[in-house]
């Protein structure tokens, strides 16, 4: 009797297995997944990867498009033209963004890293989703000025793009949805969490702050950390830091997005990671040297009704504190990110 039971249960399990195998057979093999190492000392990413799982061909397609100058109206500028890896994907030495036909915008090129932790994009938070962020520079007349429908047709006519889309998404059909998802996959891999600061925080053996770095960290915690919150070094809020208004640019900041006068002159708090590699500073790139920024906070703040209470009386910094702060900010430079071979420019042929 006992044996009989075992046989029947065994046969039943075998049948279940066969049925299971039978249904599995129709599932096609997808592209190879891309494993993104997330830093242990960071919060959970905001971006929902279940919508758009990272794959090796997806990331490769996003990277190729990022560096493809043919994505602009006259094939002169790529995303990577303004977002340079050695400048933490900001634009080295350029105060204001510029694009096709010598056009110039009104804000500086934002750096690109740790984007999957951001809730909204642009200096004013006007773009509400990471996937849709590239839409703005692609179509803006001062930037890449491309017509999306024409761009999709152009890609569809290109055998290399058809092959890359097929590898990433299973067919050669090129849609804006696929294009933006591939961009997002590449941008998602731009994670900067490998600076000396990170090693110190994670207690990597043998890595310690020097006396000056350590003193700078204290100055930072006392005078900067309320807005430039660790570990992202931004609290992702919009604040008016008292930067004098420039009539020539007439940039009202977040008020343009919300229509609320309370948001006049507010801009997103930028991250301080890689800060010494990503000058110029401020939303309009008016400062080219970090010491100008220190001096501005020390004695340059212009108070308006929306100026943040934290900076209303300025942030006093002695010459020694500035020097210490400089040394601390230097520990936020992430050479493993700036030299990450997986992010570097690819040859477009």
């Amino acid at each position: 009797m006992k044996h009989k039971a075992a046989y029947i249960i065994g046969a039943f399990c075998l049948l279940l297995l066969l049925v299971h195998a039978g249904t599995k057979k129709h599932v096609p093999k997808g592209p190879e997944p891309f494993f993104l190492q997330l830093p242990a000392h960071f919060p959970r990413p905001v971006y929902d990867f279940t919508r758009n799982p990272l794959t090796k061909p997806g990331v490769a397609l996003g990277r190729f498009m990022f560096y493809d100058f043919r994505l602009s109206q006259d094939s002169t500028v790529s995303c990577g033209f303004c977002h340079q890896q050695f400048a933490a994907f900001g634009h080295f030495d350029h105060a204001l963004a510029h694009g096709v036909a010598g056009q110039q915008g009104t804000r500086s090129v934002p750096v690109l890293f740790n984007m999957i932790w951001q809730k909204a994009f642009m200096w004013d938070g006007g773009v509400n989703h990471l996937e849709l962020q590239p839409l703005t520079p692609l179509t803006d007349h001062n930037e890449m000025a491309v017509d999306l429908k024409e761009l999709l047709q152009k890609m569809q006519a290109d055998p290399k793009y058809r092959a890359m889309y097929k590898a990433a998404f299973g067919s050669t059909e090129i849609t804006s949805e696929r294009m933006f998802k591939a961009f997002t996959q590449f941008i998602a891999t731009m994670v900067s969490a490998g600076s000396k600061y990170d090693s110190v925080m994670q207690k990597v053996p043998g890595v310690v702050f020097t006396a000056e770095e350590s003193a700078g960290y204290q100055v930072f915690q006392e005078k900067c950390a309320a807005c430039h919150k660790e570990p992202l070094f931004t609290d992702l809020t919009y604040r008016s830091n008292g930067l004098p208004y420039l009539p020539a640019l007439n940039d009202v900041g977040r008020m343009k997005i919300t229509g609320s006068t309370d948001d006049n002159l507010r801009f997103k708090v930028p991250s301080l990671r890689n800060i010494l590699k990503s000058s110029p500073y401020m939303h309009d790139g008016r400062f080219f040297d970090i010491y100008q920024v220190f001096d501005f906070y020390d004695h340059g703040v212009q108070v308006t009704p929306t100026t943040d209470p934290l900076v209303k009386s300025g942030i006093k910094l002695s010459a020694q504190e500035k020097r210490q702060l400089y040394f601390f900010l230097n520990t936020l430079t992430d050479y493993s990110f700036l030299n990450n071979a997986g992010l570097s420019e690819v040859r477009i042929e």
């Binding site: 009797m1 009989k4 039971a5 029947i8 249960i9 039943f12 049948l15 279940l16 049925v19 039978g22 249904t23 919508r51 642009m122 006007g126 773009v127 509400n128 989703h129 990471l130 996937e131 849709l132 839409l135 703005t136 179509t139 803006d140 999306l148 429908k149 999709l152 849609t175 804006s176 949805e177 933006f180 998802k181 997002t184 343009k256 997005i257 229509g259």
Partner: protein
Amino acid sequence: MILRIFSFCAGGFLVLTLLLAGKPLVSGPAPSLQLSLTHLMGQQPLVRKTVTYTNASGEEFTISRFRYFLSNFSLESVDGHVVTLPPAYYLVDDAIDSTKNIRLTPVPAGKYKSIRFLVGVDSIHNVSGVQSGALAVESGMFWTWNSGYIMAQIEGHSPVINTPLQEFIFHCGGYKEKDQVLKYVTLPFSQPITIGEKQPPHIQLSADVEKWFLPDTVSFKKIAVIMAPGVKARQVAGNYQHMFNITGITE
């Protein structure tokens, strides 16, 4: 005894598994509902570019573009149940006739007394990243610097406008609470319609552009450009929510 119970359960489970693993049974086409849209200016069919109209403020104008999203369809049955139809988004463009025919499917069989839909795109789809189909952004119906769909738009020209092109651009959008223009429209049927195995019912709808300028009177001298959420978009959306009418039903 244990064995018998096990065999019974296993047998039942096995039958169920085999049934679920198999392909679904083939049946006839799912019940559906056909909508067709006609665009009007007052009583007359809308003619873009070539015909000059006069608005409620006495200003002459022509229309060059007329587009809007329809989504979130639901039907109310004669016994008062609201049946929400599967999510579907349509971009109706006066310049593209094929966009004026909409087939809603599947619709559960039953007797219905009214139809309800959203003129625009619900807030969820304004904040959920890149979309496909009618919601794909290359339509130009998505704002790039201040994310969100343009729910409805008209563009045209009027001699009273003091810009070089004398153009008016009404792009109405906004999904955030303060400036939202999410207008739901409910249209009752003159008599209940039946959806079942027969030929799908066909509802003829009209959308009258004249309604964009009333009852909250719009003057091109005061408003020529709407390209962001706000007071002006809310005013015009408050008007255009009344533009739809059922002009006929064929069963």
